[in-house]
Structures are given as structure tokens and as C-alpha cells.
């Protein structure tokens, strides 16, 4: 696994240089590859880009799509902003919590699902909406949510 994210980071640096301008794309590359940022990656970036590790850690903890913790196989991002809220996020959340047995911010024991409440996804015309691993699910109903989860359990 280490060799793959290292390759990706090297690729970004080859393309964009080894200045601080490459930090965000490098972190995103590692995140995409591993689902989180291992501390070996923090050390590697510190060396390659000459950026103090606290600065890198400060970046990771600032941006919600970057994380030092491994998440579940499927990260369920349910929009909790006003337009979705007005169209029933609370019910959808209840369905998800009941179905998965976890609260927002937690991961199921089998590490299959992580549930997150996120700010506006830009899908307000399909509210309430959620995104799971890049796939958009809009105009959610309790039934649709259950169907989606059942399907994801089969993979």
C-alpha cells in the first residue's frame, strides 16, 4: 500500500513541483488512495516538500475530506444544511442511525459503513441528499435509503 501512495505523491511532485503549492494535491492523492493519511505519508511529505509536520497535520485536521483515521469501506455523507433539512434530513438520519446502529461520526463494527453529517453538497434541488463514495443519492426516502444500504451490504 505504501508504494502506491508514494508513487502517487511522486507523480504530483513531478507534475507540480516540490513547493508548498503541491501539498494539497499530494494530501488528496494519499487520501484517495488509502482512505486516510498514514503518519508515514506525513513524514514523507515533510521530507519531500520541506514542510514542518505540524503544518501538514494542521492541514489534515482543517479540511474535512482529509483524515488521519481510517474510515469505513463506505463513507455515507448525509447533507445536514438548511435546504435538505427543510425537506426531511432528520427522518433520513433516523433511518440511517436505526439501520446501521451508529451515530454520526462513527463507523460500524464491521468497518463497512461510516456515517457523517456534512455541510451542503450542492444537491439542494434533490434534497434530501447524500453521497456515498462519490455516488450521489438524491430525493431520499426512508425506503430508498434502506435499499441502498442493503445493496452496499452485498459487496
Amino acid at each position: 500500500m505504501e508504494s502506491i501512495w508514494k508513487e502517487k505523491v511522486d507523480g504530483v511532485i513531478t507534475q507540480s513541483g516540490s513547493s508548498r503549492l503541491s501539498l494539497l494535491p499530494c494530501l488528496e492523492a494519499v487520501q484517495e488512495e488509502c482512505g486516510y493519511i498514514p503518519h508515514e505519508a506525513v513524514n514523507y511529505l515533510r521530507e519531500c516538500l520541506s514542510i514542518p509536520s505540524i503544518d501538514i497535520y494542521g492541514m489534515i485536521t482543517f479540511y474535512s475530506l482529509l483524515s488521519t483515521n481510517q474510515k469505513g469501506k463506505y463513507v455515507i455523507r448525509l447533507c445536514n444544511s438548511l435546504p435538505c433539512y427543510l425537506n426531511g434530513t432528520e427522518n433520513i438520519l433516523d433511518t440511517l442511525v436505526d439501520n446501521l446502529g451508529i451515530e454520526p461520526g462513527q463507523t460500524t463494527l464491521d468497518r463497512r459503513f461510516t456515517l457523517e453529517l456534512v455541510p451542503c453538497l450542492g444537491l439542494c434541488d434533490q434534497s434530501p441528499a447524500m453521497v456515498i463514495n462519490g455516488v450521489v443519492y438524491g430525493k431520499l426516502t426512508a425506503q430508498l435509503v434502506t435499499e441502498v444500504l442493503d445493496e452496499l451490504r452485498t459487496y
Binding site: L21, P119, C120
Partner: protein
Amino acid sequence: MKDLKIITRHLNTANSADIDVYLADGGYQALKKALSMTPEEVIAEVKRSKLVGRGGAAFPTGLKWELTRKEKANPKYIVCNASEGEPGTFKDRLILKNDPHMVLEGFIIAAYAVGTSQGFIHAREVYTQEIELFQKAIDQATERGFLGQNIMGSNFSLDIQFYKSAGAYICGEETALFESLEGHRGIPATRPPYPVQVGLMDKPTTVNNVETLCNIPAIINNGADWFASIGHPDYPGTKLFCLSGNVKKPGVFELPLGTNLKDLLEAGGGVDGKFKAVLPGGISSSLLTETDISLDFKTLAKAGTMLGSGAVIVINSDTSMVNVASNVAHFFDEEGCGKCSICREGTRRAAEILSRFSRGQGNRNELEWLLELHEVMKDTASCGLGQVALNVAASAIRNFKGEFLAQVRKEEGVWLR
């Protein structure tokens, strides 16, 4: 007039994201024309058109380009802001998916006018499909000589670097965006100085919203006078209004600025339920309790609210305003950057207080305190986020005080003083 479509004119065109479809409808003619003018002439034309930014600040676009170009420092940069994090805004998503070449053409012309050969695009990571289409458009444009070295045989070159946002609403704010690109935490800068003087990498930078750039090809092709004659005399042209919340047909509607809110609601199939309130500029604006009002920057400002990026969120009478205020307060609690004390602590305290009200455990005194906190945040917060964070809460308390009082903690049936 209200049927005029500048930006969404390819909405129903098949394969509208493809360069050949775009070219067939006169695409990149504006770029050709612009390159035959001097950058100063392009700026003059856009200034005459009276186009103002569509990202929320409504700053005159031509003037912004002129100010950037005038700066002595080099190099200059241009950034296309496709961060679209504002709740209730989803227009840029539509544009990027539907007409990426229109954005690109506008962007290239803008870069030419400003005098930069380095452009950046900062897009919402969540828009995976849209990003793919846009990157494809960049590749296609480069292949055909509309981007890259010596564009269309001129000695103007432009290189574009694409950045995906990493999940921070505040990075839609231009100076926080710069910090993000530069590999820092997205903390907005102290202003003055302004980005046109000291921007990305401390160089003069123009930041334009996706929708703003979409107007440029049409202005260059059809002329400033044509554009200036559309819609509102002070804010000509169309706006992509995003209608969401309790409406029957939420969506993006291209209408002239100055359209009455009533007409917009009608276009959206009407309110889903009974109308209670509306946020004409999304969660950064204050609540309006009427629908008969012109949707333009000046009128809404005079009414104590604002248009912003045109994210019109409708609220029906089934909804508790306390919960609305709490939801919005929590958003700003989570999305503030944390630099300035008043916003960092203020948004947390407001979210806490409003949560308590939501649970029926409110402390009556806290309503006055929230109103005072709102005034101080408006006065002292470093950036726009802190300044508007309590607009919804304050306007909710003022307009729907009864709902809040009903959520005050009762002890042995006695109202707390």
C-alpha cells in the same frame, strides 16, 4: 425578457459539454474577437456592460480586472472560483456539467484582459462528474489551440492548474482559497490589502465566479450595450437563481436581476405548503417574510437582507424557525475557520444556545444576548462568514419571537425571567 437565456442556453442541447457542439453554436468566437482587441479594450467593454460578480459580492467585474491589471507587481494570477459551498447554491454545478466550454472561454478572455498566463480553478471535490467533464473540456480546448501556448496564433498563452477543494466552506472565500492553494489552512486574510493588490502568492489576483465568467463570451460577441440593456438598469443581465427548500420544483432558474420573488416562486411551482419566510441570499442573508419584492442587490439590501449568490431558500409554515436558526448556527459553528475570537467563540455559543431552544430548554435572557452578539460579530469579525453568521438567528428572533419564547425552559409552570 424573462425568457432570455444567456448561460443556460445549452441546457437542452445534447452533448453540450463537447467542444464540437460548442463550436457549432459559435463557441470560441468571442475569444477570437477578444484577442483581436487590446486587453484594455476588453476591459473597457466589460466595464461598460456593467456586469457585476455573480458569486455573492457583486463587485463590478471590469473594474476588478482593471485594478488587477494596473498593479505593478508580476506575475498576476486569475482564479475561477467553483467552490460552491454556500447552502442552497447549486448553479455552478449545473454550468460545469452542461457548458464547461462557456466557462473556459470566459476564463481565457478574463486572463487575457487581466494580463496573466497562469490560471487556477478551485472546484468542489464533491462534483466528481462535473470535474471530469471540465477537465475533459480543458484537454479539448488545449488540443484545438484555445488554451496553452500562443492561443489561436496570438502571443497570449494560458496554463490552467486544477485544484479540488478538500472540504472547507470557508475556502470559497477568496483569500482563504489562496491559502488553500498555497498549502496552508484556509484562513481568510486581513484586508486591506485586497486580492487585486495582494492575492495568490502575494501577487495581484482576480477571482471570478463560474457564473460571472459565463457572461463574458456573450458580452464580447454581442457588445456591452446589448448586455447593459437587459433587465435591471443597475445590475443588467441575467442571474441564475437557485430555488430550494419548501418549493414544489426546486432548481436553477435563469432570470433577469430585478425579477420579483413572486415570479421566481411561480417558476418553481410555488411554495410547497404555506409560505412562512424566505432567505433570498441563502443562509448568509436575513429572513424575509414577504414575497412581493424585487430580487436585486439594492432592493434587498434596503430591506435589511441581501441577494448574495442568489440561493433562494423557501421555508413553509410547518417548519419551526427555532430549528431553522439552530441548523444555520450549527453550520457556521462547523465551518468557521477559527482565527477570530468573536466568530470562533460566538458561533459555538450561538449553536449551543439555539440547540437548547430547540430542545425546549432555552434561557429567555439568551435571546437578547444573541442579538447583541450579532451586532458585535457584524462589527468585528474578520471576514464575511463571521459577519453574517448570526443573520438568520437574529432575524428569526426578531420576526418570530413567539416561537422562541415557547421554547424557553419552564420550571414548575413558571416562565423564567
